[in-house]
Structure formats: C-alpha cells, structure tokens
C-alpha cells in the first residue's frame, strides 16, 4: 500500500509493522509526530503495545531497557537535547545487551536553541555501543526500522535509525508500506536468551571487577564487528522480500570515477544531483553515501576509495577541537593503505543551513583546484 508520509510517520509505521510491544517516549520537536501517531495506534488497538508516557527521555530509555530484558520488542524516538539526556542510558542499553530500536531526528544542540538539522546529536553517541544508520528518504526510514530490529535482535545490540530534522522528518514523500504478513514473515518475534524471569533468577549487571569486565567489553566489540556482515545479509534478505536493496554504503557512478564525494543522509541525496550536473560537464566524479556509521564499514570504504584521485567528505557536523566526524573516520580507515588519495574535509550546513546542489558543485570545484588539503576543515557557506 502506498501512502504519502512524513519522515516521522514513516518511523511510526516502521515500529508498528515491526510489532513493537513496549513504547516509551517523551516529546521533543521535531519528533512529536512519531509519538503522537504511535499513541493513536496504541489507543485504537491498531498496535498492541504498552505506551509508557514517561516524564523524561532518560526514563524512556531506562524503562525500555527493563522491558527489553524481559524479552519484548521495544521502540522510542527522540532528538538532540533528548538524546543527550538519554546518554547515560544509551551506554546502559549496550552494556545490558538489550536490542532497543530508536528513531533519532538529527537536530542541532542548544545553546543557542535550534530545531534545525545537524548531525552532532547522534554522532556524539558513536562510542556508546549503539549501531547507527543515516537515512536519505522516508522509504528508507520505514524499511530501516524493520531491518534494524532484525540485526539488533540477532546480535543483542541496540540500534538507531537517524533522519534529518524537517528535511526528512516533516517532508512528505510517497512511501510503500509493506503488508503486515510479509513483515511478520521477515521479522519473527523477539527471542531473548537470558530474560528477567522469576523461574530462572539471576542478577543482571552486578559489580564486575577488572578480572572479567574487559572480556564483557570485548564481547560488545565482537558483536559490532559481526554486525557488518549481518547488515549485508539482512539487506539481501530484505531485497528478496520487499524488492528494495540497502547496504552499509551506497555508491553512485563510482566505477569510473576519478574523484569521489563522500557524504551521508540528505546531503548525499542532494549530492546525487550535483554529480549528475558535473558529469554533464564531463567531470568524472562519483558519490559514496555512508549509510551505516556504526559499525563503521572501513573495509568497504578502503576498497572504494583506493582507486580514486581525490576524496571530498562533506560533514554536517563537527567534532570540536578536531574536524568533521565522518571525515575523521574515513581518514582513519584509509591511514594504513598504500595508495591513499588526499582527503578533503568540508563542513557545511550546521544548524540547518541549506546545502544546495550548487553549493556541492562549488565544493567540488574548489577542492579539485588543490593538490592537497591545506587544513583539516574547509568551511562551506560560512558568512565571514
């Protein structure tokens, strides 16, 4: 069934089709429509879930960790300040190995107050042990929620599906809503190995000395490493069921590209237009969209970047005191390679400033003139 949905509602439908059983959420602009539609679905009985109307995002995540540990499927959504407030509990969800799935609307941090898009909120959580992926359209948002449950539950790692504020969250696009029976076949009910169960009493998360804590951390990293192939596997299975293919990365006109633009989410969407325009002018440029950021698909990136002359990474975020975060990770992946191309790091669009196709063409043309990047950050569109 095809429906015109805003990104937020695509998240709600993803959770509904995945048969989320406990939902706990606190409203925050621009996520409110996600929880409003889910509230409606729970109230009407369309979705048989318990909706806990918690008093903060921190409690939202805490309650979902508890619910997930009993062996039920859980969902929440948040953004910027709310995600930051949840930070302690994001670590907890990963450490407790509870496969909570969350939608995060990328919104810039305060102060000063902003509701527009920027990736710092989700990227600040990159070390918590959560898998994260960046969607570029509303279809992908819906599909990714369903995929996220499958990957998360197979590895007992939590996952977040990230979409841009307003550019996706409040933009309506046609979305194909898969049939419930098909989703049920693709995504069976959650089966948890060690549940909170009075018939099998255990303590969970007890004080662990240095004599065994190290190994528990190792286990989380190993699960993350397995996730790389798991996302591929689930992506192929999803294609067989629903006819749409998503991998950890997406390439566009890369096979004969001399130079590469690397980006994520909606900037990558726009960059596709820029690539087409540049190709018309005879420039051999391609686009690499990084979709799954955690686990970071380093091996795939190495393969794709090794054969090009120049790489331009466009970040809609900044790691203060360092540089753009996607750029840092790409550079780290390429560091030990023999033939690594110069990597230009561009920061654009912070606080929701628009990044147009024309801007991206200019970014490319400015970078191409240089042999090597002159600094770690090239600021695009800054008013100075």
């Amino acid at each position: 069934m095809r429906k015109v949905l805003m990104g937020n509602h695509a998240l709600s439908y993803g959770a509904k089709l995945s048969r989320a059983e406990v939902i706990s959420a606190y409203p925050i602009t621009p996520q409110t429509e996600v929880v409003e539609l889910l509230s409606q679905m729970c109230a009407s009985g369309e979705l048989k879930a318990k909706f806990i109307k918690v008093e903060s995002e921190h409690s939202a995540m805490a309650s979902l960790i508890g619910a997930s540990a009993t062996g039920v499927r859980t969902f929440t959504a948040t953004s910027s300040q709310g995600l930051a407030l949840m930070h302690e509990m994001l670590h907890w969800a990963a450490g407790a190995r509870t496969p909570v799935v969350m939608g995060n609307i990328n919104r810039a941090f305060a102060p000063p107050w902003s509701v527009w898009t920027e990736q710092n909120d989700s990227l600040s959580q990159r070390d918590t042990g959560w898998m994260q992926l960046y969607a570029q359209n509303n279809q992908e948002v819906l599909d990714s929620v369903i995929q996220a449950y499958k990957v998360a539950e197979s590895l007992d790692l939590p996952a977040m599906v990230v979409l841009a504020a307003f550019v996706l969250s409040h933009t309506s696009e046609t979305v194909d809503i898969p049939a419930q029976e098909k989703v049920d076949e693709f995504l069976p009910p959650y089966k948890r190995e060690y549940k909170i169960d009075p018939d099998e009493p255990h303590a969970f998360g007890g004080l662990t000395k240095p004599d065994n804590y190290f190994e528990l951390r190792y286990k989380i990293q190993k699960a993350m490493e397995k996730a790389v192939s798991k996302w591929e596997e689930v992506g192929e299975e999803f294609e067989a069921f629903f006819g749409r293919k998503y991998g950890l990365v997406e390439t566009y006109k890369v096979s004969d590209a001399k130079d590469l633009i690397v980006s994520s989410a909606t900037i990558a969407s726009t960059a596709r237009n820029a690539v087409d325009s540049l190709r018309e002018k005879g420039k051999k440029v391609g686009l690499l969209r990084i979709r799954v950021f955690r686990p970071f698909p380093a091996e795939m990136i190495r393969r794709i970047l090794s054969s090009v002359d120049k790489v331009i990474v466009i970040d809609r975020n900044i790691g203060f005191g360092s540089s753009g975060i996607f750029c840092q990770e790409v550079k780290a992946a390429m560091y030990n390679e023999k033939n690594t191309p110069p990597i230009f790091g561009v920061i654009a669009g912070l606080g929701g400033r628009d990044v147009t196709s024309k801007n991206i063409i200019e970014i490319y043309e400015d970078a191409i003139k240089m042999e090597e990047p002159e600094s770690d950050i090239i600021w695009k569109g800054l008013k100075i």
Binding site: I52, A62, S63, T70, P198, P201
Partner: protein
C-alpha cells in the same frame, strides 16, 4: 514456639553487608513477605554491592541493576514487559534514600503519577552511605555526615517524602521499621496484592554511617518509633492516613540521639530543639490521621 514471621529464607548467607546492617535485615523481611515470584530493580546504593560481585548473587530472585536515578522507570518498563507476556510477577524497586529523595525523585514522581503497577521500596539509612556517608535530603537536621561536618552540620530538615508520595494519591503508602518485623511483613504482604503504585519507606539504621556499635541496629530502629520520630503508618489513596502502631508513652528523643556518634556534637539546646520539632511534626501528623 510459633513463629510470627514466615520461616522460609529466600536470601542466602554470604552477602557483603557491614555487620549489623539495617538494610540487609530489611531485605530479609521483604523477601519473606514477597516470595520468589518477585523481580528487584536496584539502583546505585548499598544493595548494589551487598548482593555480591558478578557472577554471584545473594537474593535468589531476579535482580536487575539500574542506573542511579532509574529504579522506578526500569521497574515500570519491566512490569510493562511482563504485562505483554502475561506474567503476573511482583516488580519491586529496592532503593536507597539517595535514589528516592534526590537524584531519582523525578522518576519516582513520574511512576506515581502514572500509577505504574510497581512496589517502590526505599530503605532509608539517611545519607549516601554507599559512597561513604555524604548527606542526602533524607539526612536529619543537625546530623554529622562527611559533607555536613560538625562545624556545619545539616541545616535543613529531613525531606518529608511521605507527604510528597501522598500528594500523588497512589493506592498504598506505608512506613515500616526493621524493629517491628511483624508489622513490616504484614505491610509488604498487603502491598504485594494491590494494583497500582505502592510506596514503602523502611527505616534502616546504619552502624557504619551513624557511628554506633552494630548490635544496636534493632534497638535504634525501635527507639525511633517509640519516640514518634518515625511513626508507623499506612495511607490509602493519599488521603486516608492511619497509624499502625500507637505509642502510649513516647520516649524522649535524647535516648535515641545519645546512642549515635553522628549526633555526638549536639548540646542540650540542640537536643531540646530536635525534641520540639519531633513533637510539632507529630502534632501535624495527628491532624491527618483518620479518627
């Protein structure tokens, strides 16, 4: 000899609590009343450590450790999960005064306002004992703690958490003392079968933090009740207040204070002031008690 409390032990021996720990005695009684069909959520507090290190546990019921402020929210989530699964298990948040009165107060209020079906227990040893006896908002007036040294002992009154919970109009609130195990176990058994949020405050003396010989734990808990400092009561729906123990001749508070090192610095004037406050609070309470 007929035993007045259930015989079966649920907790096993070997926990790492201090000698004479009031909170450990409280857990022993609580588990006797609640039985094995119980799940505990425990935030950062003494009981985080008392249960023992991974991979060991002492309580013999599922125990889910939680972040400091989140015992109530986690318990609500666990209960929601059990409701989906059709499991009728007691979900009990077992928390210290730090988690309840201070850092987690918002989450306790949230769960109470939603009337989540959990039993919320606060074992009150009147300071952040697990981190070495720093003051909490439950620390009584003029008490010494490491952050309220004798040069400047606690200036504010102990927070009235019972009135705060009563304002939420939850189905059942009670105070209990480890010196009155029959009363405490009866209250836990009653609370177990009520739907909605239930709150029980258990008075637990701490020999390590209050600075007294561990053998006096039960005696101090008894004196607190006998001097009307810690009345044993029940509240239904936040509006019907009832005493479960009436003290015919209340003991002077000095008897209770003099046994504790944390009150050693008090002079006669301080003790008289505390006595006045105890009596004033008691009179205010009497006005709420149903005739």
């Amino acid at each position: 000899m007929k035993l007045k409390i259930p015989e079966q032990e649920i907790m096993s021996c070997g926990n790492v609590a201090c000698q004479g720990c009031g909170a450990t005695l409280a857990m022993r009684y609580a588990l006797k009343a609640l039985g094995k069909n119980t799940v505990l959520t425990i935030p950062a507090c003494c009981w985080t450590v008392i249960d023992g290190p991974f991979p060991h546990s002492t309580v013999n019921v599922p125990l889910f450790h939680t972040a400091f402020s989140t015992a109530a929210a986690t318990a609500s989530g666990i209960k929601a999960g059990f409701e989906i699964l059709g499991k009728d298990t007691n979900v009990v948040a077992w928390t210290g005064d730090g988690a309840t009165y201070d850092i987690g107060l918002g989450t306790v209020s949230g769960a109470a306002e939603r009337n989540d079906d959990i039993l919320y227990v606060c074992y009150d040893n009147e300071a952040y004992m697990n981190t070495g006896n720093q003051r909490s908002s439950s620390t009584p007036l003029k008490a010494w703690t490491t952050t309220t040294p004798v040069e400047s002992p606690k200036e504010s009154h102990k927070k009235d958490i019972i009135s705060i919970m009563a304002a939420h109009r939850i189905p059942y609130i009670a105070t209990a003392s480890i010196a009155y195990p029959e009363d405490m176990i009866e209250k836990f058994k009653k609370a177990k079968d009520i739907k909605g949020m239930r709150f029980i405050l258990v008075f637990c003396p701490c020999p390590t933090g209050w600075k007294y010989a561990p053998q006096l734990t039960v005696k101090l808990a008894r004196l607190a009740v006998q001097s009307n400092l810690f009345p044993l009561l029940e509240i239904e729906n936040g509006t019907k207040w009832k005493l479960t123990k009436k003290i015919a001749h209340p003991k002077p508070i000095a008897e209770y204070l003099k046994l504790q090192g944390r009150f050693k610095h008090l002079n006669k004037k301080d003790i008289a002031e505390i006595q006045q406050i105890v009596e004033a609070d008691w009179n205010l309470l009497l006005k709420k008690i149903e005739k």
